[in-house]
C-alpha cells in the first residue's frame, strides 16, 4: 500500500470514528420545573425534627454465628452468638449454584446464620424494636452496614435498630424473597430469646408491643411478605412448613421496594392492619418504577383499629443513596456510562429525607407521637424539614370509606359502594382503565377514572368557551348518615394530571350557522394552540348539600397539583424510550379535604347533609386527570396540621 493511500485510508477511518463518537451524545438533562420553594415554604409542625438526633447515647454491637469466614463483624467481634436456621424450604437453587455458594460463604441454605448489627439507646428500656433488611446487591459488597445513619438516628431517639445480614442471599437468585422475609422473622424469634436471657445485653429491653420491620429494594418486598407470614400458621407454598411467629408488628417500611419477586401461593398478597410507609425515588436506576404503590394499594385496614399508610415519591432520588454502601451507582460500579446521574439529589439530601420521614413515621407509630401524624397527610406541614425537591404523596387512614375506587365493576356510572352514582358532563374523555407504571406492559394493578376535558370551542372564535366539564358523585342520605359524616369529616381523593390535551368541543350547529353568517375573512380551520405545560393545572372541588347549598374551593388549596414529573434515568434517549412507556411515572397525589374548610367559605353549606361532590374543570381550559380512591373519612383530629 502506498503512503498516499495509507493516509487516505487512515483519514477515512478517523472520519468514520469521529462520526460514531459524535453520535454518542448523552441526552440533555430534562427535569420538571421545581415548585418546592412554594410548596415547601412553610413549617406547620412545631415538634422537634424527627430527622435530628434525640437524647439517648447510642451504643452499638453485632451478633451472629461467630463462625462467619467472610465477615469479621460476625465472627470475631460478635457480642453474643446465634444459632443457624434452615431456609431450604424457601430458597432454592441449582446444585452447582449451591456448591459455589457454600464454597464462597462456608455454609449452605440449611445453615444460614442470624447476623445483625445493632444500634441501641443507652438506657433501661424497654424500647421499640426495628429491623431493617437490605436488598439484592453485589454479595461481596456487604450491604448491612449501609443503614448506620438510620441506626444512629433511631437509637438516639429511643429505638433499637437491627440491620440484618442477608448478603448470602444476594447475587443471581430469583424468587427468594420469601426466604428473606422468613429470615427476618427468625431474627425476631432470636431477639425474643435475647430479651429473655438474663446474661444478654438486651434482657428485658425490648417493648414487644412495638415492633417495626423495614426493607430496601428486595428487602422492601420482603417486609410485606414478613408481615403476612407473621399472621399465618403455615407457609402458603408448602403447608407442611409451619409458622408460629405472631409478633406485634405494628409498622412496615418499604424503601424503593420490588413487588414481583415472590407471590405467596401465586397471588398478589394483601397486607392487613399495619401502619405502612413506602418511599421511592423518581430517578431509581435499578427498580425504575414505583412498584411500592401496589403494596400501598393492597394494604387493607379491617380490624377497626387506627392505622394509616403513606407513600412518598421523591423527585430526583435514586435507588442506592438510601444505603451508604450502595450509594449513587444503581447499576453497579460501571453504570455511570448508562445512568444519568446529573439529576440526583445529593446523597446527604436523600438520606436526610429518609431520616425525617422514617423518623417521623416510627415516632408516630411506635412512640405514639401523634404530633408527627400531619406530615403524612400533607407534606406542606414539614416544608422546613424536607430537602428541597418535589414530592408526590399518597395517604389513607383507617376511617377512610370508599365511594369509588373503580375496581369493582365496569359500570362507569356507579361507585364502589351502594348509594353512590357518578355522572360526567362535557367530558372529552371518560373511561375507567388501569394506571400504568413506567416499565412497558406493567401497571399499578388498580383502575382509575381517566377524565379529559377541553372547554374551548373549535372554530374561529378562540375565546369561545363551553360550559366547564364536570364529574359528579352523588351520595345517598343513608350513606352519609351511616358513615357519620359531619363537620369533622373530609372528602379524600387521589388524582394526577396527565400531559394529554383532548381536542376542543365541536361547536353546536347554531354556533356554526352564526360563524357562517359572519362571512369570510376569519380562518375557521386553525385549532387553538395546545396549552403551555408550564401553566399549573387546577380544578374546582364543589360540594353541595341536600338543601342545595354549594361550597367551592380549588383543589390546589389541599395540595400540589402537578403534571407528571419528567424523569430520564438513562443517559441515552433511545434506550430510555425502549425501556419505558412514558418519560414520567403517573403517581397520584392524595388530597384530604376537610368539610370544615368548605363550610368556612360557604357558611350555609351543611357538611352533615352532603349530597354531591363535583370536580369542575374550570380552572384549566383543557387537560386530563386520573382519579382514584375517592371517599369520605372521619380522621383522628391529630392528623390535622396545627394552625399556620
Amino acid at each position: 500500500m502506498t503512503s498516499h493511500s495509507s493516509h487516505r485510508l487512515v483519514a477515512t477511518l478517523l472520519g468514520c470514528g469521529a462520526a460514531i463518537l459524535l453520535a454518542a451524545c448523552t441526552q440533555s438533562l430534562k427535569l420538571s420545573p421545581d415548585d418546592s420553594q412554594t410548596i415547601l415554604a412553610h413549617q406547620r409542625i412545631t415538634a422537634p425534627n424527627p430527622g435530628e438526633p434525640g437524647p439517648y447515647t447510642v451504643k452499638y454491637l453485632t451478633y451472629g454465628s461467630g463462625t462467619d469466614k467472610r465477615r469479621e463483624a460476625f465472627r470475631d467481634s460478635v457480642a453474643f452468638r446465634t444459632r443457624t436456621v434452615d431456609a431450604s424450604p424457601f430458597v432454592q437453587m441449582p446444585p452447582s449454584e449451591a456448591r459455589a455458594r457454600k464454597k464462597t460463604w462456608g455454609f449452605d441454605v440449611k445453615h444460614l446464620p442470624l447476623n445483625g448489627r445493632v444500634w441501641y439507646p443507652d438506657g433501661p428500656g424497654p424500647f421499640p424494636l426495628v429491623l431493617i433488611v437490605h436488598g439484592n446487591h453485589d454479595p461481596g459488597d456487604f450491604s448491612d452496614p449501609g443503614y448506620r445513619y438510620l441506626g444512629e438516628l433511631l437509637a438516639s431517639r429511643g429505638f433499637i435498630l437491627v440491620s440484618l445480614d442477608e448478603n448470602f442471599l444476594n447475587g443471581n437468585l430469583r424468587g427468594e424473597n420469601d426466604g428473606r422475609a422468613w429470615l427476618m422473622l427468625e431474627h425476631l424469634v432470636a431477639w425474643h430469646a435475647f430479651t429473655d436471657s438474663a446474661d444478654n445485653p438486651f434482657y428485658h429491653k425490648v417493648d414487644w408491643d412495638r415492633i417495626a420491620i423495614m426493607g430496601h429494594s428486595r428487602g422492601g418486598g420482603a417486609v410485606t411478605h414478613a408481615a403476612q407470614f407473621n399472621r399465618l400458621n403455615r407457609y402458603p407454598d408448602n403447608a407442611k412448613v409451619t409458622f408460629d411467629f405472631h409478633f406485634n408488628i405494628r409498622a412496615v417500611v418499604a424503601i424503593a421496594p420490588v413487588d414481583y419477586e415472590y407471590k405467596p401461593a401465586g397471588q398478589w398478597e394483601p397486607m392487613e392492619n399495619v401502619d405502612f410507609l413506602v418511599m421511592h425515588g423518581s430517578h431509581d436506576g435499578d427498580v425504575s418504577e414505583f412498584m411500592g404503590v401496589r403494596q400501598y394499594d393492597r394494604l387493607r385496614f379491617t380490624d377497626g383499629k387506627p392505622h394509616f399508610k403513606s407513600a412518598w415519591y421523591v423527585y430526583r432520588a435514586n435507588h442506592g443513596q438510601w444505603n451508604t454502601i450502595w450509594d449513587g451507582l444503581d447499576g453497579g460500579p460501571r453504570s455511570a456510562n448508562r445512568l444519568d446521574l446529573r439529576a440526583l439529589l445529593s446523597p446527604e439530601e436523600q438520606r436526610q429525607f429518609a431520616r425525617v420521614v422514617i423518623g417521623g413515621f416510627l415516632e408516630a407509630t411506635l412512640h405514639d407521637r401523634k404530633e408527627y401524624l400531619p406530615m403524612f397527610r400533607d407534606q406542606r406541614t414539614i416544608g422546613h424539614w424536607l430537602p428541597r425537591t418535589m414530592y408526590i404523596t399518597r395517604f389513607q387512614e383507617s376511617s377512610f370509606r370508599t365511594l369509588a375506587d373503580y375496581d369493582e365493576d365496569v359500570d362507569v356510572t356507579t361507585g364502589s359502594t351502594p348509594g353512590v352514582a357518578i355522572q360526567g358532563a362535557g367530558l372529552a374523555t371518560w373511561r375507567e382503565a388501569p394506571i400504568p407504571l413506567r416499565y412497558t406492559n406493567d401497571d399499578q394493578h388498580t383502575n382509575a377514572a381517566w377524565l379529559g376535558w377541553n372547554n374551548r370551542v373549535a372554530g374561529a372564535d378562540t375565546a369561545a368557551r363551553a360550559q366547564p366539564a364536570s364529574y359528579t358523585f352523588t351520595v345517598s342520605d343513608s350513606l352519609v348518615s351511616a358513615w357519620h359524616i359531619g363537620d369533622t369529616s373530609g372528602v379524600v381523593l387521589s388524582l394526577a394530571p396527565t400531559y394529554t390535551v383532548p381536542p376542543p368541543h365541536k361547536p353546536d350547529s347554531a354556533a356554526q350557522a352564526s360563524a357562517r353568517a359572519a362571512g369570510p375573512g376569519v380562518s375557521r380551520s386553525r385549532a387553538p394552540r395546545a396549552q403551555d405545560d408550564s401553566v399549573p393545572m387546577d380544578l374546582t372541588i364543589e360540594l353541595v348539600d341536600a338543601d342545595g347549598h354549594t361550597a367551592r374551593l380549588p383543589l390546589s388549596v389541599f395540595g400540589p397539583v402537578r403534571r407528571p414529573l419528567i424523569t430520564h434515568v438513562l443517559r441515552r434517549a433511545d434506550r430510555e424510550r425502549a425501556r419505558f412507556q412514558n418519560p414520567y411515572e403517573l403517581v397520584l397525589q392524595t388530597y384530604p379535604m376537610p368539610l370544615a374548610a368548605f363550610a368556612r367559605v360557604a357558611p350555609s353549606f351543611n357538611p352533615a347533609r352532603l349530597r354531591v361532590i363535583r370536580l369542575v374543570f374550570d380552572r384549566t381550559p383543557a387537560g386530563e386527570v386520573i382519579l382514584d380512591d375517592v371517599g369520605l373519612a372521619n380522621p383522628d383530629p391529630a392528623f390535622r396540621a396545627p394552625p399556620g
Binding site: 500500500m1 477511518l13 460514531i20 453520535a23 454518542a24 438513562l570 441515552r572
Partner: protein, 300 residues
C-alpha cells in the same frame, strides 16, 4: 492459581514456537493461509476462543457462541485484495455459520503463490475463493464444530477446486475459553503436474474472558499453531477497551507472534463500537514488505 496456569499456557505457547527446519511443500489455496478476521488479526491472529463471526475461520466450535456478521477487506499492495464475510446465527440447540473469502492478486510468473509473496506484483493474475458452511453445538459440556468448505484457486488459465473440512472443540476453562481445531483437511489441489497440498493446520488457543480493571475491559488471547510442512508458530494478543456511554466502546489491540513465512512480529488495531456496529482496523506487519492494513465491520 489460575493466573499461574494462564502464564504457563502463554509460556508454553511461545516456547513451542521454536522454528523447526522443514521442507515446505507446495500449499494451496492461498485463502486458507490468510487471516480471517480484523479483530483476530490485530491480536496476532489469535482467535481460537473469539465470539465474533470470524471465529468460523479459526475454530468452528466457537460458532456455537458467536453471533453477528463480520465483513473485512485487507490490502497487501496495489494489486492484492482479500475480502471476507462471516455470519453466524443460532439454529436449534446449536448455531450455523457461513463464510466466504475472496482473494484477487497478481503473483509471480511461477509458483502457486504464498503468503510472503502477497504484494509482490507479478504478471500472472491469480484468484482464490473459499466458501464455508459450519455448524456447532454443545455436547457434554464441550462445544464441537464442523466446517464444510469448498476451496478454489485459479492460476492464470488453470484452476482447481476441492472440498475440505475443519473440526474444532472448545470449552470454558478457568476464566476463558480453551479451543483446539484442525483445519483444511482435504485432498490436494492439482495444477497440471503440480500437486498442492491443502494447508492443513492444527491450532490450540486460549482466550480469556473480559476482565474489568477500573473503567477498562481487558481481554487476551493466545494460540500455537502448525501448518503442514511448516514450523510451530505462537501468538499472543491483548485488547484494552473503554466504554464511556452504554453501547459505545473504543478498543485498542496489539499482538506479538513468532512469525510464519512472510509475517512480521507485530500486529495492532483499533475498534470503535456503536451499539450493534463495530468499525475495526488492523495493521499486519510483514517481513521485508510494508505492513498490510485491514478494515472490518461487525454487525451484531
Amino acid at each position: 492459581m489460575h493466573r499461574c496456569r494462564l502464564s504457563l499456557v502463554v509460556a508454553l505457547s511461545m516456547a513451542a514456537a521454536t522454528p523447526l527446519l522443514a521442507q515446505t511443500p507446495a500449499l494451496a489455496p492461498l485463502t486458507a493461509q490468510l487471516p480471517g478476521g480484523t479483530r483476530e488479526l490485530s491480536m496476532a491472529n489469535a482467535g481460537m476462543g473469539a465470539t465474533n463471526a470470524s471465529v468460523l475461520f479459526y475454530n468452528p466450535a466457537q460458532v456455537a457462541e458467536a453471533r453477528g456478521t463480520d465483513l473485512s477487506a485487507q490490502r497487501y499492495g496495489a494489486s492484492t485484495l482479500l475480502t471476507t464475510l462471516a455470519s453466524t446465527v443460532s439454529l436449534g440447540e446449536g448455531a450455523i455459520g457461513i463464510g466466504v473469502k475472496l482473494l484477487g492478486f497478481s503473483g509471480p510468473t511461477a509458483g502457486l503463490g504464498s503468503p510472503d509473496s502477497l504484494g509482490a506484483n507479478g504478471a500472472t493474475a491469480m484468484s482464490g475463493f473459499e466458501a464455508t458452511l459450519g455448524y456447532a453445538r454443545e455436547l457434554l459440556g464441550v462445544r464441537a464444530g464442523l466446517n464444510l468448505k469448498l476451496m478454489d484457486q485459479a492460476l492464470a488459465a488453470t484452476h482447481d477446486r476441492r472440498g475440505s473440512v475443519d473440526v474444532g472443540l472448545a470449552r470454558d476453562l478457568w476464566r476463558g475459553v480453551l479451543g483446539v481445531s484442525a483445519q483444511n483437511l482435504g485432498p490436494a489441489l492439482r495444477y497440471g503436474a503440480t500437486r498442492a497440498f491443502q494447508p492443513t493446520r492444527v491450532n490450540v488457543g486460549y482466550t480469556s474472558d473480559i476482565l474489568q480493571a477500573g473503567p477498562l475491559d481487558l481481554d487476551a488471547a493466545t494460540s500455537v499453531a502448525r501448518v503442514r510442512g511448516g514450523d510451530w508458530t505462537a501468538a499472543l494478543g491483548g485488547e484494552v477497551a473503554w466504554s464511556w456511554l452504554e453501547g459505545y466502546r473504543v478498543a485498542a489491540r496489539a499482538g506479538v507472534r513468532n512469525p510464519a513465512a512472510g509475517e512480521g512480529a507485530w500486529t495492532a488495531g483499533l475498534g470503535i463500537s456503536a451499539d450493534r456496529l463495530t468499525l475495526e482496523v488492523a495493521s499486519d506487519s510483514r517481513r521485508h514488505r510494508p505492513a498490510a492494513y485491514r478494515i472490518g465491520l461487525t454487525i451484531r
